[in-house]
């Protein structure tokens, strides 16, 4: 058992015109995913053009924040960190970090919940997950 003692500060993202809304929502504690208004299918990372269907338009909707670990890896860097794909309750599997956890005790399939970690610079919150 070893706790993650030092916290990694993530580098900040560079939003583009199509993702400014996503990062602004993160400042309000929301993780937005894309949803096709016609098919209801959700996708991630969210983008203005649905990756699945030519029909319908994309609306950005907040995820519930519940998920499970699809896979993960503990990066044995100077400050170790956990990179993962988390399967959201809505379906999409998204790349993220697992934070505030015992890095030696994580399990594939484990339930996690959304949290936010401030990044370098202006502190733009980054959506991450922690054991539920």
């Amino acid at each position: 058992m070893s706790e993650q003692l030092q916290k990694r500060v993530p580098p900040s993202p560079t939003p583009d015109p199509s993702t400014r809304g996503f990062w602004a929502a993160a400042r309000e504690g929301k993780l937005l995913i894309g949803r096709n208004t016609k098919t209801g299918k959700t996708h991630y990372p969210p983008r203005p053009i649905c990756p699945f269907d030519d029909e319908g338009t994309v609306e950005y909707v907040p995820a519930s924040g519940a998920g499970t670990i699809y896979t993960y890896s503990v990066m044995r860097a100077k400050i170790p960190y956990v990179i993962a794909y988390v399967e959201l309750a809505e379906g999409p599997r998204i790349m993220t970090n697992i934070v505030d956890c015992d890095i030696e005790a994580l399990q594939v399939g484990q339930a996690v919940r959304l949290t936010f970690v401030p990044s370098e610079g202006d502190g733009q919150p980054i959506p991450m997950f922690t054991p539920a």
Binding site: Y44, S73, R93
Partner: protein, 390 residues
């Protein structure tokens, strides 16, 4: 229309350097170009098609064409799909030759990540802000090693694959590398040594990773009539396939790779089955890369890769499927962080009967070379070639 039998690999050359402190990347490209042409018995004046990828300095092919001094080109292609580019280039060269767009195509790769001190596998890369995935990956510390590690973790979870089974892949590569005087790692290692080497990104250890090396390689692809006039054994492209696999808008599945598609396409065009293959060059950036691709190419059932690779099954002379008999990226060479061209080069050596005698596969008349480029954990190119000796 098929490319089956429409083109031959007539020249192959692997640069002997593994650390090129006193050479430029462009110089390495030119050296491997001349090496492969010499191997074929051709000169620069014979070349009318040129292929390179992102490791070539300059805009697409332009600077390299200028620097190497190619002045009779009528066909160029700089498709970049990472380490799989050079296998795809062989296929695209065969297509161009089949259509009469060129007769003799040169493909080069070179790079010096070792001299430049690149932390290839462990340093997250910021990429271009215009690349739409960067802002959703770079903040999380996505690096090459942890992307492949997540594939391994999921495979272990779904199929019970073990670190010891993955280690067997490195063990087999090291058995081959001991005979290669140019290989970076020539010491034969054991399963224990692999699993007891330090963790880089769980569950991958240091010895699950490929080497970081300088160097390069080149290939010459030509029309069969030309190949038969040359003095080298004739190696024909019998089938090829390419594919791109990605995150699929969040519906990603890390238990398989694009090899599922590129392999099926190559086997279909070649009209052969995995069981017919005498030797396989399998892209080996990490041990898990090999295991996933062996399953996807059909050498064993999905999920059975661990059992397939264990107990020396990939060792030439011992196992059922001799692989990467030069030591591969895991032990020999991973020039420019892209192992695609060396995969083709060793397959050509095997088909010509020019591999090291200790690892040469007997009666090797049908070989497969497979490459992956980019990252199995996010998005990657996949290219498969079936090659045969005439």
């Amino acid at each position: 229309m098929s490319i089956r039998g429409k083109a031959c690999i007539v020249g192959a050359y692997e640069h002997p350097t593994r650390k090129a402190e006193d050479k430029s990347t462009a110089q390495l490209h030119a050296e491997v170009a001349l090496g492969a042409l010499r191997d074929a018995g051709l000169t620069r004046a014979d070349v009318d098609g040129y292929f390179c990828a992102g490791d070539a300095p300059g805009m697409g092919p332009l600077s390299m064409v200028d620097y190497i001094g190619l002045d009779r080109l009528r066909h160029v292609d700089s498709t970049d799909v990472g380490g799989s580019s050079y296998l795809l280039h062989v296929a695209h060269a065969a297509e161009a030759i089949a259509l009469g767009k060129c007769n003799i195509a040169l493909i080069t790769l070179a790079g010096r990540p070792r001299s430049e001190g690149v932390a290839t596998g462990t340093a997250p890369r910021s990429g271009s802000p215009a690349q739409p995935d960067v802002q959703f990956e770079y903040p999380y510390g996505a690096a090459v090693a942890n992307m492949y590690a997540m594939c391994a973790k999921r495979h272990m979870h779904e199929f019970g694959t073990t670190s010891e089974q993955l280690a067997w892949i490195k063990v087999a590569a090291s058995h081959h590398a001991q005979h290669n005087e140019h290989a970076m790692l020539r010491k034969v290692v054991t399963v224990d040594e692999v699993v007891n080497s330090p963790l880089v990104a769980d569950p991958l250890h240091r010895l699950d990773c490929c080497v970081i090396s300088d160097g390069g390689g080149a290939l010459v692809v030509a029309r069969p009539e030309i190949a038969r006039r040359l003095k080298r054994p004739v190696v024909t492209v019998r089938g090829a396939g390419e594919a791109v696999k990605h995150q699929m808008g969040g519906q990603l599945d890390l238990t398989y790779t694009g090899a599922r598609f590129s392999g099926a396409r190559a086997f279909e065009e070649a009209g052969v089955r995995p069981a017919d293959i005498k030797y396989a060059s399998i892209y080996d950036s990490f041990t898990i890369t090999v295991l996933l691709q062996l399953e996807d190419l059909g050498f064993c059932e999905k999920g059975q890769g661990g059992r397939f690779v264990q107990d020396g099954n990939l060792i030439s002379g011992t196992g059922k499927l001799p692989f990467n008999t030069d030591g591969g990226g895991l032990c020999n060479n991973h020039p420019a962080n892209r192992g695609g061209i060396t995969k083709v080069i060793e397959a050509v050596r095997q088909l010509r009967g020019e591999a090291h005698p200790a690892v040469q596969v007997k009666n090797c008349d049908l070989a497969l070379a497979h490459g992956t480029g980019g990252s199995l954990g996010t998005r990657h190119g996949s290219a498969t070639l079936v090659l045969e000796r005439e």
